[in-house]
Symmetry: C2
Subunit: 364 residues, 2 copies
């Protein structure tokens, strides 16, 4: 078996605690001969700032680029609220996304049956929910230039961000969405604000063009504001939703919240296949943040982090069986009634990070 390299960036807050559970899993799969992962780890976010004065060092970015997959925890916390803007914890994430060129962010929003009651929505609206948001991750208003604040002559300031998309950026993310739709229900919703934004007009034009290559996939256009609304109204009407970086940020958070269990949701960010090796750069992280309020208490939910590792097995290493087994183990543990504090329920056993990680490992 070829050695596969993982670069671990636990980050801040609960990021470090939940990464430990993934490390245990890696050690176990290696030991069982199921995998042959070599791992290395680095600092990101506040942790890197405290040590090196930057959100991530050039060395760690280089290591991330060299690795077969990056497993990322979470960054940020009140401690770093006032660091210089270019060194804020999120800068690590944005730099990694951009330098790894992982333009395709897959955010599944799955409602685990055992947790349907935890949703703020009525059970029947979310039970069995399985949406996949495909978010463009390296373009749009996140990275467009100019992005600046300038002083005006009148003593006021002027802030500018630039939303920009070129045809190829929309084309490639649309193809990812259509390809994924083929493995699912064969339905794609494309969300933009073409009634107000020129980038939305181009977005829609390109997606519709790509759609011609996927005659077997149903394509629906939806305005982003309506998409947010419809996600809250009748989420199960959606399967794959493709959208830009900023709308994807918001819509995937709404979709995540519907499931009632943010602590459960993983994400994968993929680059284009290398023309020679066919390998794609890949970045896996939970959808939730660093939860500074509960950090250090050993009570964080490691499931989103573990599920992100499962996505790595699936998308970076084509270990579909092991990925499915791991996802099954998560489900099984939940069905057994184990819960971390964030998803605590009456008549269920509330456990800590370590116990949850161990229970999942035991199921394997």
């Amino acid at each position: 078996m070829a050695t596969h390299s993982l670069f671990l960036l636990p980050g801040d807050g609960i990021g470090t605690e939940i990464m430990v559970e993934v490390e245990k899993l890696i050690a176990w799969t290696n030991q069982e001969g199921l995998t042959d992962f070599s791992t290395d780890s680095g600092l990101a976010g506040g942790a890197a700032y405290d040590q090196h004065g930057v959100a991530i060092t050039d060395e760690d970015v280089a290591k991330a680029k060299a690795a077969d997959a990056v497993i990322f925890g979470a960054v940020g916390g009140p401690k770093w609220d006032n660091v210089p803007y270019e060194h804020r914890p999120e800068a690590a994430l944005l730099r990694l996304r951009k330098e790894l060129a992982v333009f395709a962010n897959l955010r599944p929003a799955i409602c685990y049956p055992a947790l349907a009651d935890a949703s703020s929505l009525k059970r029947e609206l979310v039970e069995g929910l399985d949406i996949l948001i495909v978010r463009e991750l390296t373009g749009g208003v996140y990275f467009g230039e100019p992005k600046e604040i300038t002083d005006l002559a009148n003593g006021q300031k002027r802030a500018v961000d630039t939303q920009v998309y070129e045809t190829y950026e929309i084309d490639r993310i649309a193809r990812v969405a259509f390809d994924l739709a083929r493995t699912r229900s064969g339905k794609v919703h494309s969300a933009d604000k073409k009634n107000v934004m020129k980038s939305g007009v181009l977005w829609d034009e390109v997606v519709k063009n790509v759609g011609k290559d996927y005659a077997d996939v149903e394509l629906h256009h939806i305005l982003a504001d309506n998409a947010a609304m419809q996600l809250v109204r009748t989420p199960k009407q959606f399967d794959v939703m493709v959208t830009d970086n900023l709308f994807g940020d918001i819509l995937s958070d709404v979709a995540a919240m519907l499931t009632g269990s943010l602590g459960m949701l993983p994400s994968a960010s993929l680059g284009a296949p290398d023309p020679v090796t066919g390998k794609r750069k890949a970045f896996y992280e939970p959808v939730h943040g660093s939860a500074p309020d509960i950090a250090g208490q050993g009570i964080a939910n490691p499931i989103a982090m573990i599920a992100s590792f499962a996505m790595a097995l699936r998308y970076s290493f084509n270990m579909i069986e092991l990925a499915t087994k791991l996802e099954g183990a998560i489900s099984a543990v939940l069905s057994d009634g184990l819960r971390t504090g964030d998803i605590a329920q009456d008549n269920r056993k509330t456990v800590g990070t370590e116990e949850m990680g161990a229970a999942i490992l035991a199921k394997l």
Copy 2:
């Protein structure tokens, strides 16, 4: 009593049907001597395009500017999906907002007790909900330049929209929010993406500065993606939320959907007070759209439109008592069990647009 001028722009689809109910109300309040409104009306959206080849004529824009208040229905429909971009129905709305300079868009999301079960959220999470989204309406990515699609040398295209805010634009909308918070719970959430956008950084800086003038109002910062999530999770934590044009578009739609009754929600868009007369330009419209699928059937819910007229009474004409009475009439009719199709319930009587309008009028 001074004559007050109203300019009515019913627009397209159900817009024309629900405006009729407002006209009846105006006729009645005039007749009762409660008001002295003079009215005129014009065309907007597809209706204007069909007649004049533009989304709104210069004459109608001039009339809107001259009026004490504009009452707007809704625009758009599949019939005009392929008209030239600058003449699409929404262009009427955008032009009016910009030329009237109605920068402060107030979008209340109120859950009527009689309708709490219609929400997709659990009753206890939305019962009694009363959120006011204060959306900046004349700036940001809606109007920033450049806003264009250009052809690149490689045969591809490049689309650009520009998110831009100056200090004064943020300052004035923040003041509107803080002033309104004083009349409510004394709490403001300001939503932006300062972790990614420079406009968010300036937004937060200016709002915090304005906050110093309102020491009695609690100010909370929230990231826009988290705001969307929290609206779905525990909406009642919010009272006034101030945000920019694009985030306001999405967040107000999410908030609206929580109430379970989009057909009930009005909005007001206000300009700055005239330095001489103190009057502010004002624009009132329902939050819902033109609903082409049910247009022409006499079944549209006129309540959002009527409630928008109530907002006009309150904000443009300081007729607080009459506004409150009208809002009370809406509530009473709902408590009586009258419903239009969009909010139909078992054991309640489903009525059409006209019957609903008449019932509200009868309560007065």
